[in-house]
Amino acid sequence: MSYSGGRILLSSQRESQVSRFRPWIMVAAPLAAILFQVYVPLFFPFLAFLEAPLLVVVYFALMRHSQIGGLLAGALVGLAQDSLSKNPLGMFGIVKTLVGYFASSIGLRLDVDNVMMRMLLTFFFYVFHQFFYWVMARALLAKTLGFDPQRTLVMAALNALVGVALYHFLDKLRETA
């Protein structure tokens, strides 16, 4: 059994284990996630629901346990995503910055190796991401985007499921201490 056993809450920050990744993985995984979102729905439109960059940001923020690292990763991935969209730069950047920061903050206190916890966190951050983006689009760009709570919850559940599988794969790329 792992260091955290069956517990979900960690008693101290020392108990949490920081995961380390090779630098090329830190670059390649977000790039692959953005590429996935740009390229794959062209041939498989049903995969457009997958917010792969968000999943990658959440994973690295949770596992690295560094708030500054998490928010910078979120900002970079978000800005890259903005660059490939028609929107002004910063929309995805701000949202993902917040997601990265909060995810790394939570990663300090929760056992992020727990599958259920990962699923719940991914679900929560997807809803947060979509809702905050919607709020920002209305508030900052005066855009009347639609926000369908039911659809968002379903998408969040699907992303959480895929996220757990993706995290399992990314776990294999962790450097062992």
Partner: protein, 433 residues
């Protein structure tokens, strides 16, 4: 101070990063200026990889079909013959090749016919964002593409170039909520503004209530927007209703009916065209040759009196009629309370003769107990018709030998008369004379 900064270092960095992005956002929105450099970096980093993947996919598809799929079907080949599998694979391959060739040919034909100068491009990526409808094409400013150029296919308009990067361009699709183009209807020359809605359908706005727009009518580009040259098909009207201020006309974009097209044309130098009088024909429609002229003219042999039973219901009706007539019952004449025909002898009844009412003796002598057969001859007038295995056509019917029912039916259909099935409500009525 130092301890304060150390203590709140994380939140300070967060606020700084958020603030910096807000400033970036504000500068773009306020000055309507894009941070082109950042976009160029990202697109230049992403699209080459996407192009490489696309090239690998395109090249690997043949390998996959010819090798991997063949290996996967090896187990199946034990049960099926090798030849059959090879043929199947070849058919799939050829169909794909044919589809690709068709698309390329259609683009080429369109390119050679349209007066505008165009540039062929392939869609190689799709834009991020759940509500955005943008794609990337593999032609950029190096190829002469500029921001604002129109993107079309032979089927209709696809979108316009939103950003032109060196090696690729971002195209705002016609279905994007930010898209707008000037359009004019084909029939009544009603002008409006086409707007994307984020759904497969588009809206034509700013059309006053008094303007007449019909369902199924085509909209074309008007050229007023200075982006799309006049005369390119846009789409067909699917619904028209009155909105709060203007008519709400929903149009299905003709170029996007099968999703985002793979190959598009970027109009480098647009030339306005006339709006055609007829809707655009996307595919040639095969029209068969007219049926050959029948041997007997409808005037010589009235269709309603010469055709045999065309349906099972007709045959059944004739069968019952023959049984009734064999028992000297005339349908529609019997008084209330009179004995009904004995239909228990249905299976032993003489073969129904489509030639008309048959005398009992004649019917018994000619058909006997033979099972009812579908009539082969034309229906003769009731009076004076002799029951015979080969009934003769009525006097003046024209042909010596009765033509087959199919030929007669075709002839009658050509004459515009219904002869086969009995219309509802006339099932019990005698045939028209």
């Amino acid at each position: 101070m130092e301890s304060f900064l150390n203590r709140y270092r994380n939140i300070t960095v967060l606020l700084l990063v958020i603030f910096a992005q807000l400033i970036l956002l504000a500068v773009q929105v306020k000055n309507d200026k894009d941070m082109r450099m950042i976009r160029v970096w990202t697109v230049t980093a992403i699209t080459p990889v996407a192009r490489v993947i696309e090239a690998v996919r395109g090249g690997g598809a043949g390998l996959l079909r010819n090798y991997v799929t063949l290996r996967n079907t090896d187990a199946e080949n034990r049960r099926l013959s090798d030849e059959l599998n090879r043929d199947k694979l070849e058919i799939i391959f050829l169909k794909n090749e044919l589809a690709t060739a068709d698309r390329a040919k259609a683009l080429l034909v369109f390119q050679s016919h349209t007066p505008s100068k165009t540039l062929a491009a392939t869609v190689c990526g799709i834009g991020t964002g759940s509500n955005s409808k943008v794609v990337f094409v593999d032609r950029g400013s190096v190829s002469g593409v500029q921001r604002g150029m129109a993107v079309v296919t032979p089927d209709g308009i696809v979108g316009k170039v939103k950003f032109a990067y060196p090696t690729s361009s971002e195209v705002l699709l016609v279905t994007d909520p930010d898209f707008a183009a000037g359009v004019v209807s084909q029939k009544n020359q009603v002008r409006g503004t086409l707007k994307g809605q984020g759904t497969p359908m588009c809206l034509v706005d700013y059309v006053p209530f008094e303007e007449k727009v019909e369902l199924g009518e085509w909209f074309y580009t008007s050229g007023d927007d200075r982006i799309f040259p006049r005369g390119h098909p846009v789409g067909v009207v699917k619904s028209v209703r009155n909105g709060p201020q203007y008519k709400e006309i929903v149009v299905e974009p003709s170029a996007m009916q099968r999703g985002v097209p793979e190959d598009v044309l970027i109009i480098v130098e647009g030339v306005h065209m006339e709006i055609p009088d007829t809707p655009p024909a996307n595919q040639p429609v095969y029209v068969a040759a007219p049926p050959p002229a029948p041997a007997s003219t409808p005037a010589a042999a009235p269709p309603s009196q010469t055709a045999g039973p065309a349906t099972e219901a007709d045959k059944l009706r004739l069968e019952y009629k023959a049984v009734g007539e064999a028992q000297k019952k005339v349908f529609g004449v019997g008084l209330p309370g009179s004995a009904p025909p004995d239909f228990t002898k249905l299976g032993q009844a003489p073969a129904p003769n489509p030639a008309g009412p048959v005398a009992p003796a004649a019917g018994a002598s000619t058909a006997g107990n033979a099972a009812p057969k579908p009539p082969a001859g034309p229906v003769a007038p009731a009076a004076g018709a002799a029951a015979s295995p080969n009934p003769k056509p009525p006097a003046g019917a024209g042909p010596k030998q009765p033509p087959p029912p199919d030929a007669l039916r075709r002839a009658n259909q050509a004459a515009g008369a219904s002869t086969g099935p009995i219309p509802a409500g006339q099932a019990g009525s005698p045939p028209p004379k």
